[in-house]
């Protein structure tokens, strides 16, 4: 056992070094190259005149982006783990219950339906808040529907299908809105749908953190019942788990986290599905005491790495985050799974 503990500690040390390195690189690298001198003087009280612009870029643009990536990665990783454990299904992820589709519907209604959409990303803060809010409302509407269904339906598999169906239904409405939308609006909506960590301003960061952290904390309280759920519903119930309550709590927390993140960043593909698998493969454990900190850390690392890749100077422009997450992440996960030959939920 101590052997195992040691190797786990080793993995944590390596990952922490990775994390710190990624945070630094996220601040240091971008489309504008910042001289290293800026970082040397970063904590000085008197900033030289010529470095103010660079400091501004780091503090006002790259820093909130990195924090957003950290929040999104950790939350989506956790939400994915919650869904995979609840449904005992390795294909489950944060978007499986249609919550991110709900967010998309909200944004689609705003951008495609009302005509205020074109060019909303980046410049106008009010519009940006409007998009966040629309996504938020859409996501919570779907979450509400799913929670109602969860009260009605006893069987988890049925609930999963209901969630997927709600997602399809919502997507078809989005399809219709796309069909009738103006070209520019559709383009703006498509861009939003590709996800971005760059849409959260410093002023919104505090709100973002306040919204996310309680859910992360409450999730950690479910370690014990989540472990029992691994055995299946009947066994879990026999061990004294209140199935109905735990199911509700898991859907609520996972759905809430997904809704918040999607509202601030757009739908982020892949991270929520893949992070739990990477955590299980890396830590060789199904124990949520191990997995919850693991997905938080790994989700953060993955999203920071993706954010970094998306802004690599050799790409002409900043690439959408979903292009990176899936393009680089999918082969990596396939490789790991084939190599280890074991996958679970």
């Amino acid at each position: 056992m101590s052997d195992r503990n040691q190797s786990i500690r080793f993995i944590y040390i390596i990952l922490s070094i990775f994390l710190l390195g990624l945070i630094f690189l996220n601040l240091a690298i971008g489309s504008v190259s910042v001289p290293s001198a800026v970082f040397l003087h970063f904590f000085d009280t008197n900033t030289p005149e010529n470095e103010i612009v660079w400091r501004h870029i780091i503090l006002e643009s790259r820093m909130p982006q990195a924090v957003t990536a950290i929040l999104a990665g950790s939350s989506l990783g956790l939400a994915g783990l919650q869904m995979q454990t609840l449904f005992r299904n390795p294909l489950a992820g944060p978007s499986i219950l249609g919550i991110s589709s709900g967010a998309s519907l909200g944004v689609a209604l705003l951008t495609l339906g009302s005509g205020i959409g074109t060019g909303f990303i980046g410049s106008n803060i009010l519009n940006e808040l409007g998009v966040h809010l629309a996504a938020f409302i859409g996501a919570f509407l779907v979450l509400f529907i799913v929670l109602l269904a969860a009260k009605k339906v006893k069987n988890n598999a049925s609930l999963l299908i209901i969630g997927i169906m709600v997602g399809y239904a919502v997507s078809s409405i989005i399809g219709l809105l796309n069909f009738v939308g103006q070209q520019g609006e559709v383009h703006a909506f498509v861009i939003w749908g590709l996800g971005s960590f760059a849409n959260v301003q410093n002023s919104q960061l505090v709100l973002f953190i306040i919204l996310v952290f309680p859910a992360l904390f409450l999730s950690s309280l479910l370690i014990k019942p989540m472990n029992a759920m691994l055995l299946g519903e009947s066994y879990a119930q026999n061990l004294g788990v209140n199935l109905k309550r735990v199911r509700w709590q898991l859907i609520l927390l996972s759905g809430y986290l997904t809704a918040i993140i999607t509202a601030f960043t757009g739908p982020i593909a892949f991270i929520g599905l893949a992070t739990p698998h990477l955590a299980r493969l890396l830590f060789k454990s199904s124990d949520h005491k191990q997995l919850i900190p693991a997905v938080l850390l790994l989700g953060t690392i993955i999203s920071l790495a993706c954010n970094l890749l998306a802004r690599m100077p050799f790409f002409q422009d900043v690439l959408p985050i979903n292009v990176i997450t899936s393009l680089f992440g999918a082969p990596l996960v396939i490789y790991l799974i084939i190599k280890r030959k074991q996958i679970g939920f």
Partner: protein, 362 residues
């Protein structure tokens, strides 16, 4: 065997089934069953009579339609889920698939009702887990990955998990399904040992009638239409309850051997003599083919085993007719013979006869 007189489980006019669209579908009713501590009870009956439903009603996964279930003298309706988890453990047929979990960790999940908010295992929990591991002789597997085990081993681990749960009643839904015969025997022997040594009540549903009759202290027989029958195996057999419940067009229960035998439709051909092992297996082979294997003088052909020559000999009117080195060859010949016309078809045996004569000469 330690056994208190108090029933660990008792049902009073219990009726079980499902509720569908406010309509009750009753599967069994008026069940009045009792199980004492330290007893291994086998729940048997044909498919679809409600064995699983009964077990799921006991574990409160299903609500019973009417009547009451008393666990240790108290209605299970008065147990909350926490109390129930400390009094009743289950082993199910559904497969458990958890990658990256060792046998020991999985057994430790049985301690769930006793651990703190974070599920931390303390020394007493560790003791109980080790005890369960020892009782089921799982020491050598303790640190193996659960999903890499064989089906029989997995079943034992899940039983150990139930044992670690430290409950006075353990319910097992077909714990021997999918296992080979030696594993089935082993599992039932372990369960019996546990029931007697730990003084817990164990109820298991099974299709393995012969095993149940051999191993159970008590049998609850759920027949399709008749009332439930309870008793020790031997009494139930003698009362004819077993053969009544299980016999059908194809099979009948043989009281002497406690085996099911195929109902024989074909004609008698061979008068089989002797009771050597070879002859017993010849009889089995014939029964399998639907041919009577009785000892009757009136039959035209006589068969016996020549242990010196290690051959099966077929005689007709006291004359050696043919000899066979394997049962397979006998079956082939007999199957090709039209029994009602054996006189004419004896030609089929001639080749064999010639062979035999030749060999006798050498």
């Amino acid at each position: 065997m330690i056994s208190s007189d108090k029933n660990i489980l008792e049902t009073k006019d219990l009726s079980i089934g499902y509720t569908k669209k406010n309509k009750q579908i009753e599967i069994q009713s008026s069940l009045n069953l009792q199980l004492k501590k330290g007893e291994l009870c086998c729940l048997i009956g044909p498919n679809g009579v409600g064995k699983s439903t009964l077990l799921r009603s006991f574990s409160a996964e299903l609500n019973s339609l009417s009547g009451d279930i008393l666990l240790d003298g108290t209605s299970i309706k008065n147990y909350d889920s926490q109390q129930l988890s400390k009094n009743l453990s289950i082993v199910l047929t559904e497969s458990v698939y958890i990658p990256n979990m060792t046998v020991k960790e999985l057994i430790a999940m049985g301690r769930f009702p006793y651990t703190n908010f974070w599920g931390k295992i303390n020394n007493k929990d560790r003791e109980k887990v080790d005890e369960a591991i020892n009782l089921l002789s799982l020491q050598s597997l303790a640190n193996r990955n659960f999903i890499e085990l064989s089906d029989g081993e997995k079943q034992k681990v899940l039983i150990a998990k139930a044992l670690a749960q430290d409950t006075p009643l353990i319910l097992l839904d077909e714990p021997t399904a999918f296992l080979d015969f030696p594993s089935k025997m082993a599992i039932l022997a372990e369960l019996r040992k546990i029931a007697h040594q730990k003084n817990v009540g164990i109820i298991l549903s099974t299709h393995d009638l012969e095993l149940a009759l051999k191993m159970a202290d008590l049998i609850w027989l759920l027949p399709e239409k008749n009332k439930v029958q309870t008793g020790i195996p031997e009494d139930l057999v003698l009362k004819g309850a077993i053969s009544k419940a299980f016999s059908n067009d194809i099979l009948s229960f043989d009281l002497k051997t406690a085996h099911f035998i195929q109902n024989i439709k074909s004609v008698d051909v061979l008068n089989i003599e002797g009771n050597s092992i070879e002859i017993e297996w010849l009889k089995r082979a014939l029964i399998r083919k639907g041919i009577s294997a009785n000892t009757k003088q009136s039959m035209p052909l006589k068969a016996y085993y020549d242990s010196k020559r290690r051959e099966f000999i077929i005689e007709k009117e006291n004359e050696i007719f043919a000899a066979f080195t394997s049962i397979d060859k006998i079956l082939t010949v007999i199957e090709n013979t039209k029994f009602n016309n054996y006189e004419k078809d004896t030609s089929l045996f001639i080749n064999y006869r010639n062979n035999y004569d030749n060999r006798l000469q050498h």
